[in-house]
Symmetry: C2
Subunit: 307 residues, 2 copies
């Protein structure tokens, strides 16, 4: 079953206490694809400028990512530059140059339109709706957004919520969208606007899956070394959707496993700079980390021996 992602492809320059990168392969669709492709083939729709290094695209191709939907346009590629705080818990954007991404008009190649699993990166909700018009009969559509659209295009975003299955956002975005500080109430506010489920990404504190009657929490993996948080949320989304597409199973039990696969891929993403943490990860690595997650959170009820 096809797995399609539409979103940014960027050249990232990132400064952390442990080093820095310049014009490295980045962008939401890229982190999603590098992570998701460990589990299932990923189809990417995005745009790059004519300055985009061919070697960067080769990294994606080497992962088996289908780049038929990546358009080259005359002009500069999307560039993003940021600096992280000493504890990696906050970052300051130093520069955003949209380049050809400013006029991005997603065109879904014919062969991608049958995709059963669709992830809409945090682009303009108008473009997200436009992508939904182009895909035929997806089984599950998940969607990210960002504060910029919550502030600037809230009506279109609310319209979009009526057409998707899962909204997947950061805790700060859930709070801003709902106007409610409590993330659990915020999630239910969002559920009231259409989506069947909400996934709230909580950075170093993991992620939460909320539907109208249940909640599932996966912590972040306990890492003694974190080098670069960039793209962790998109790698999480890639692992989550990659798991669902690979099994074709969207039952509650499968969605919980998808959360853990997402958290596993997110953990590999932050262990190195940029996409490097994802480039060499094998399916066996991911399975081992999923087992480690099980060990991290599992407890027996032991009803026979209780207070």
């Amino acid at each position: 079953m096809g797995l399609l992602v539409v979103g940014s492809i960027a050249l990232d320059s990132v400064i952390t206490p442990f080093g820095e990168t310049a014009d490295a392969l980045g962008g939401a669709a890229v982190f999603f694809a590098m992570a998701g492709a460990v589990l299932h083939p990923v189809q990417v729709v995005g745009v790059v400028g004519n300055d985009f290094p061919e070697a960067h695209l080769q990294k994606l191709a080497a992962r088996g990512v289908d780049l038929a939907g990546v358009e080259g346009q005359p002009g500069e590629s999307f560039r993003w530059k940021a600096r992280y705080s000493y504890d990696l818990n906050s970052r300051e954007t130093l520069e955003t140059r949209l380049g050809v991404f400013a006029d991005f008009q997603p065109r879904i190649p014919e062969k991608f339109r049958d995709a059963k699993f669709v992830f809409l990166g945090n682009i303009d909700p108008e473009l997200q709706l436009n992508v939904l018009d182009q895909v035929k009969q997806p089984k599950l559509v998940a969607c990210d957004t960002m504060n910029y659209w919550i502030q600037g295009k809230k009506d279109l975003l609310l319209e979009l919520l009526r057409h998707i299955d899962i909204l997947m956002v950061n805790d700060s975005e859930a709070r801003e969208l709902s106007g409610d500080w409590n993330v659990y109430r915020a999630a239910h506010w969002i559920l009231g606007r259409g989506p069947k489920m909400v996934v709230i990404k909580q950075g170093e504190h993991g992620a939460l899956l909320v539907d109208p009657t249940t909640m599932f929490k996966v912590p972040a993996y306990p890492l003694q070394e974190v080098f670069d948080p960039t793209g962790a949320g998109d790698a999480f989304a890639g692992g989550f959707m990659g798991y669902l597409a690979s099994t074709g199973d969207v039952s509650d039990a499968s969605l919980r496993r998808a959360m853990v696969y997402g958290a596993a891929l997110g953990s590999f993403a932050v262990e190195a700079f940029g996409v490097e943490g994802l480039a060499d990860v094998t399916l066996a690595d991911v399975r081992a980390r999923v087992r480690a997650f099980k060990d991290l959170v599992h407890f027996d009820m032991d009803e026979a021996n209780r207070p």
Copy 2:
């Protein structure tokens, strides 16, 4: 098996966005006892001034808490006043008046000295060591501390670590004690100083149990209403130790369950002001919440149907 706690008994005045209390029943030993006693009888050693309301002590007695170790001294009771931020994530201490607590010399009544489970609240490490000299042959000793002692009496604290089984501290205390920002490395630093296990309390993000070879994470319970975070960590400790004392089982599997019972009691503590959230909790309530925790974090591996 006896469960003993030594620590502060206080009159708390707390201001939150939802209301305020004045001279309410509080203190680490009190929150510990109110929570632990839901699961197992608790013995308290502490000190109060002659201004301490009898009705407050009656609340503890009504929970079946043994107050034979609570000394009355001429003078003022320990008073603490604090104000929480609008999101309850930070608080400012407005006033601390130690009163009779300044000269607290824990005397363990003869009938408490056989206690098999001992919790040392965050008092002077010299007094904590002194308590250990008075108890006969405890099966498990857990211990809290605070930044004040980490800064002022680090040598004695390190001496104490050689004599206890579990250090149970906040993430900020683990960081300050170890000098390492990463909580997982901080936990291993502490393990290297003597304790068999470290429990790191992470507030709204739950708690972590670390031993030399494994980790266990329990999230905080997802609450749509939090009124007063005061005492949540001590209620966690009470639930944790109460579970262990009630079963007498200190196996790895039991310690994991104890973490969940701790988190359950912590969640009841924050749902109302002061100890009110704990006063009416039944064993059935706690068991139901433990089952809810299981549902919150449980996932099947489903090895047959994986990517």
